[in-house]
């Protein structure tokens, strides 16, 4: 079973960003995460937080699958009693952001070079000591991936990433 799912993922899988509104009730996150593991679906990242309405939480899920699997994921999410709304943002234009904190071991020699990378990515230095420097990077998942890649040659000590949050874009004109 899991083998066939993985095979089909390998064939036509693509990444999907799904936005989910659900009742802010006890155990709601567990139900969603549990459904993914029970059905053997891929779960790349999952974030949850409050919305403008305190009784509602927004979850942003990044997953991977072919069309049939994504269709089932959306149906299964809708099937959860606490689910208010499921939107697959993938086919819309949407904004996504992720935040990463990256702690780097530094020497007086490489510090300027690191700071240059930070500047190029419009990231921020939020902590500094004699031997370390902590960077806050915000942006699309790709941008966060990219800054991490650029900082790899230095000594990355620790990374904390939030996972993706996303909202549908309302702007419809030409950019």
């Amino acid at each position: 079973m899991s083998e066939t799912i993985e095979q089909s993922i390998a064939q036509t899988a693509r990444k999907h960003t799904i936005s989910l509104l659900l009742e802010n009730k006890f155990g709601a996150l567990n139900r969603v995460a549990g459904m993914f593991s029970a059905k053997g679906y891929n779960l790349e990242s999952i974030t949850v937080g409050p919305t403008e309405d305190a009784s509602v939480s927004r979850m942003t899920i990044v997953t991977k699958g072919d069309d049939a699997i994504i269709e089932q994921i959306i149906k299964q999410l809708n099937k959860l009693i606490d689910t208010l709304k499921v939107v697959d943002l993938t086919y819309d234009s949407f904004m996504e952001r992720e935040l990463a904190l990256i702690k780097i071991g530094t020497t007086p020699e490489n510090r300027p070079e690191i700071m240059q990378v930070v500047e190029i990515f419009q990231a921020k230095i939020i902590d500094i000591s004699h031997k370390t420097l902590t960077v806050e990077a915000t942006g699309s998942g790709q941008k966060v991936d990219a800054i991490i890649k650029m900082l790899k040659p230095f000594h990355i000590k620790e990374i904390a990433r939030t996972g993706r949050v996303a909202l549908k874009r309302e702007f419809v004109g030409e950019v």
């Binding site: 155990g27 567990n30 549990g34 299964q76 099937k79 009693i81 606490d82 689910t83």
Partner: protein, 587 residues
Amino acid sequence: MTQQTTTPQRQMTGAEIFVRSLIEENVEIVFGYPGGAVIGIYDALHDISDIKHILTRHEQGAVHAAEGYAKASGRPGVALVTSGPGATNTVTGIADAYMDSIPIVVFTGQVALKLIGNDAFQEADIVGITRPITKHSYLVRDVNELATTIKEAFYVATTGRPGPVLVDLPKDVMATKTIFNYPKSVKLRSYQPHVEGNQKQLDKAVALISKAKRPVLYVGGGAILSNAAGELKKFAHKTKIPVTTTLHGLGAFPETDELSLGMLGMHGTWYSNTAVNYCDLLIAVGARFDDRVTGKTDAFAPEAKKIHIDVDPSNISKNVKVDVPIVGDVKKVLQQLLPLVSALDTKDWIQTIKNWKEEHPLRYNNGKYIRMQHVIQKISEMTKGKAVMISDVGQHQMWMAQFYQYIYPRTHLTSGGLGTMGFSLPASVGAAFARKDFPIVSISGDGGIQMNIQELATIREYNVPVKIIILNNGYLGMVRQWQELFWRKRYSHVEMLSPDYVKVAEAYGIPGFRATVTNEVEDVIKQLFATDGPALAEFKVVKEDNVYPMIPAGQTYHEIIDIPNEKSAPIEGEEQTDLEMVTFSKG
């Protein structure tokens, strides 16, 4: 969000509110087992005459009894158990109800709120344990939410695609007092099941139906769950479309009707599987394309356009891609379709099927020693469809599906999705409280009966009028059959000793009978039915007999193994000359 009634009332404990809420829900019977965490609830139950409490002998039995009650009546079943081991004992029953979409509400005791998470005595995270096997679950953390939660639990369990709902009741919450206000109605903004079919989809379906030359209705448990047997009959008769049912669909359409094909699938009739293989339109009605029905999915009904009516959108295109999905309640959708369809010219198709029925009927060799098929066929002849037949899991279950002629809905109860051995006996207890008009017949193998045999005490104590039948082949027969066919006859741990079931029955105070040869069968069945109240009969049947037709797991219609045509005895010592071929057809 729930509307509250406004009449102010006196303060009550959570336990009293619990009992009052059940009365508000018109719960007439609770299957349960007490313990420390629910002792307050049991105290509140003590003086209540509106609710009957049945003390089963195991919490698994309580849940299966609630299932049996729900399946036989169409009303939600209720189980009440204590925390920890009481709660964990319900897991199999809850999983069973989840797989078979049975509306039950299971109330579990829980340790006091402040102790949750402390590994307190008899603490188990039952909400966590059952999360993947419940439709929904609740932990009641405030007595003021109790009544609303109970209202919601019954609503969720019984609407849409039904299923088990668990409500966990911490001991201290149940001892806290508040004013009782039972909500009049419930509306959940996050849960609104589809009822009516979409008109566009209905039109597409009607267009497909009007063009069909070789249509088949493939009917599942959803037709029974939504009480759609009447609509289904009208629909089949109006359109002249033959009907095959799944294991759970048995009873949704009378098997005495000439349009009936009996059951399809792994052990379905030869002709139903053949009809599905050659049909050009398959209308799935409350069925979910389960692997025991389809075999290899891409070779299932390969020539057919497919219409799928189901209340659960996640069932659509889950296993088999369909041309026209209709999401909605089966009863409602059939009502919507009925005025839109007209008679098809299926004369030739029905004649072809008739020929298949004559060429490949259900059949077995009757001889000196008892075949399970024979026992079931005799019960069918004697009860004429007017019995609630409750099966266990194994060979006898498949023969019960084949050799009993089902006519009425809710007369065939079985554990189909989970395949839970030990289901029949406790489920029959629940069924007996749900239905007084038909005799209740519980049939188990020698394996399954020993899994919940303790419920004989429940049956005796409450004088539950169950006719208990044990078809004893000395084997875990279905596993033995697979070992014979697919594992080079290496019978690994499937032969099994049984107690003397007649003595067991007597020890429990239940009259017991036994038949060991074929010509005793009828008399024993008659004695069983003539006995007032509960009675048990053991039939010693031939040891090595196989269920056919069979489409081996994951294979296609073309690999079907039909019932052997030659007269052969499945056991040594039986004279070939004794044998007589008995045939049996549905429809």
